[in-house]
């Protein structure tokens, strides 16, 4: 498990967004980003991190990227719990 800010390009699974402040968590939810989601990092830190989820690109600032915990995705798609 690693913070999104440390992630390289490639596929990851979001483990937790609980570290983020409530406002940020709400914003992520409205953009359809949840713990358990499969994402693809298309631009890594330093600077903002941009990832793709269901074809939508979502950018987060560095501070925010530090609060999102991800893990490297296994090849097979795991269904959402």
């Amino acid at each position: 498990m690693l913070p999104l800010i440390k992630a390289d390009l490639g596929k990851y699974r979001i483990v937790s967004i609980d570290n983020a402040c409530p406002g940020a968590r709400k914003r992520l939810t409205l953009l359809g980003v949840f713990a358990g989601d499969e994402i693809e990092v298309i631009k890594s830190a330093p600077g903002p991190v941009i990832f793709k989820k269901d074809g939508t690109r979502i950018g987060v600032g560095q501070g925010m990227a530090d609060d999102i915990m991800v893990e490297k995705s296994v090849e097979r798609r795991t269904p959402r719990p």
């Binding site: 406002g23 939810t29 953009l31 298309i42 631009k43 600077g47 074809g55 939508t56 950018g59 600032g61």
Partner: protein, 662 residues
């Protein structure tokens, strides 16, 4: 013909505008929504025997009081009593897009769901079972590809059928027994409070502690009871908002899973957008590219706008001369000739000459927006802006402020929170707009011939620093809460559509023209009046009313080194538009030649610089104050005026008092 009202809602970046254009063609106008401060577009189309009025809401993800746009969208939805609400949905991203639908259903709207960009979804292996969807959700579904105009006729047909439906079976999300009990008792409590919202929607918003709704009930007799219920909620749930959102998402997730399928895709190629993002938001090159774009914007606005600007200036003096001649020939009284030429044409004209610059500014603005770059720029500036207490997105209006403060203040509408908007608006008047440039050019031309460039740069820089410091100060004084970190959806890049850019630039310029025009017109007539009377004094002399007013200001301006009435009048006239500072000084001197001689006698280099500082910082022009009032309210407009006057005077006096000894 019968008229029905339909509202277009939907997330940002779903092709909503494309659908709006496809439905209404050129029959659109930018309506001014009473009570709210957002441009809301309206359009019309006729289908069969019904004329449809289409209202295009700002793109939102939700309908809470989270951002200004969402509040406005909700407000329009309940006040307009639409005959149908069309939700434009990105077919590739059903779950997130359908979240908004759950709220629309709670608002008891008749919903049509437009599965837009269906071709892209199909390419991605997504299929949607519309019949099944319609069985579960009380909504009609249509597939469209907006940019290819596919499915628009079907959409019209479904809208037609929907508005003719009498009622539709209600659907509700089940929030679970515990919450449903709370909702029921709240519904019971609020049902006697008069409100345009359905009781259930009202109750759920209260549970979410939506401030707008809490304020609505806080003065009613039922407030005690409501508070009691809400305290009960707090005792049970740690984060009730999260919990409600989860329930809605859970519901949508279930429905979507049942009604659509998604094949696993073959590995996608690395798209152009991803490549561009790696460059444009790069921690080093991103900043350089950003600066390049700013430089380019300035170059285009000033260099390309310059010739048109001069041409319009010549046109207005030509019109003024022609009008004077004609009016004299027709034996109009002297005062009316003066009012029309020296007052209205010169005054209004001095603002209208900036139309080419403003048009170009908006043209580039829409190009940057349309292409998708603007969203990236917000990320590039985020770190710096965050330190000051501003949001990354604030950078864009601030850059625009160097062109003209008025459109820049309007551009703050893209910011998500009222707090960010207000802080940005308060900082904006200090960005040195193009109207201040003539003043700098006149004075540096006389006093700082050799260091003109450096002096100009120092003024722009001073404005920027004071603006940022103002933002920092106001943030810590009035808005304690943390700035929400930047999280934004990034639309794919695409080549901007020239026609769309022209239309958008024209629309915004026209709004500027209309608002600034009416303001300037009124102001000019008043100032002319004050300058013309009393008749014995002569137009704009020491003993005319303006001269007298100028003299009353002189003692206050003396510590800054320009305690003579001409400076007082010039600054007073400058309130209307800052370029009038130059015009006034010229008028009271009696022409260009005496102006140059007069100024070099009246000012020293130090007091001239102090005067430029004053012009830069003191009260923003009338048009800016008016637009601050429109966007942020009277209180903030008064405050911005008082604050900038204080800062302008203080800085000018400090500068003069320190440097006059060197």
């Amino acid at each position: 013909m019968e008229e029905k009202v339909v509202i277009l809602a939907g997330n940002p970046n779903t092709g909503k505008t494309t659908i709006f254009n496809a439905l209404t063609g050129l029959h659109q106008r930018t309506g001014n929504w009473p009570g709210v401060t957002v441009e809301v577009k309206e359009g019309f189309f006729t289908y069969k025997d019904i004329r449809f009025r289409v209202i295009d809401l700002p793109g939102t993800y939700s309908l809470t009081s989270f951002s200004e746009d969402e509040r406005i969208a909700r407000d329009i939805l309940v006040r307009q009593k639409a005959d149908a609400v069309i939700t434009i949905v990105d077919s590739s991203n059903l779950e997130r897009n359908l979240y908004l639908v759950t709220l629309l259903l709670e608002l008891e709207q008749k919903v049509v769901i437009d599965l837009n960009m269906y071709d892209i979804a199909e390419e991605k292996g997504i299929t949607v079972d519309i019949e099944n969807f319609e069985k579960i959700l009380p909504a009609r579904f249509v597939r469209t590809v907006g940019n290819k105009r596919e499915g628009i006729d079907e959409l019209k047909e479904v809208i037609y059928e929907t508005v003719r439906e009498e009622t539709r079976k209600a659907s509700r999300i089940n929030y679970g027994p515990e919450l449903e009990g709370i909702i029921a008792s709240l519904e019971n409590t609020v049902k006697d409070i008069s409100s345009p919202y359905p009781p259930r929607f009202f109750a759920v918003r209260l549970i979410e502690k939506d401030t707008d709704f809490i304020n609505r009930v806080s003065k009613t007799a039922a407030f005690g009871r409501i508070k009691e219920i809400l305290e009960g909620v707090d005792a049970h749930f740690t984060d009730i908002e999260d919990c409600l959102m989860d329930k809605r998402y859970g519901y949508i997730h279930g429905v979507t899973k049942e009604c659509s399928s998604r094949k696993d895709l073959i590995e996608e190629k690395i798209e152009l957008t991803s490549r561009l993002d790696r460059i444009f938001t790069h921690s080093f090159f991103g900043g350089i590219i950003f600066l390049f774009f700013i430089w380019l914007t300035f170059t285009i606005v000033f260099k390309w706008g310059g010739p048109f600007h001069l041409l319009l200036g010549k046109l207005f003096s030509f019109i003024a001369v022609g009008a004077a001649r004609t009016l004299h020939l027709l034996h109009f009284p002297e005062w009316s000739v003066s009012l029309v030429t020296e007052g209205i044409i010169t005054g209004v004209g001095s603002v209208l000459v900036f139309l080419p610059n403003i048009f170009l500014l908006f043209f580039i603005f829409s190009a940057l927006e349309d292409s998708g770059y603007m969203a990236r720029a917000a990320f590039v500036t985020d770190r710096l802006m965050h330190k000051i207490g501003l949001h990354g997105k604030s950078a864009i209006p601030m850059i625009l402020g160097f062109g003209c403060n008025v459109p820049a203040i309007m551009a703050t509408r893209t910011l998500e929170t009222k707090k960010d908007r207000i802080i940005t608006i308060m900082a904006l008047p200090f960005m040195s707009c193009s109207a201040r440039l003539p003043v700098y050019l006149l004075f540096t031309g006389i006093f700082f011939k050799k260091q003109q460039g450096t002096i100009l740069f120092s003024l722009y820089f001073t404005g920027l620093i004071i603006g940022l410091l103002t933002a920092r100060l106001f943030k810590s004084l009035f808005f304690r809460e943390e700035t929400v970190p930047i999280i934004m959806e990034l639309p794919p890049y695409h080549a901007p559509d020239i026609k769309g850019m022209l239309v958008s630039a024209w629309e915004r310029s026209f709004l500027f023209l209309r608002k600034a025009g009416t303001m300037i017109f009124g102001g000019v007539v008043i100032v002319w009046f004050l300058s013309y009377f009393p008749l014995s004094a002569g137009y704009a002399t020491e003993n005319s009313f303006t001269g007298i007013i100028g003299r009353t200001f002189s003692p206050v301006l003396r510590p800054a080194g320009f305690g003579f009435w001409q400076a007082g009048v010039a600054l007073l006239f400058g309130l209307i538009a800052k370029e009038l500072v130059v015009g006034t000084l010229a008028t009271v001197s009696g022409g260009t030649e005496p102006l140059l001689g007069g100024l070099s006698r009246l000012f020293t280099p130090v007091s001239a610089y102090a005067f430029m500082l004053m012009t830069l910082l003191y009260i923003p022009c009338l048009a800016t104050v008016a637009v601050i009032r429109q966007e942020a309210g009277t209180r903030w407009a008064v405050f911005a005026t008082a604050w900038s006057l204080f800062i302008g005077w203080t800085v000018a006096v400090l500068f003069y008092q320190v440097f006059r000894f060197f």
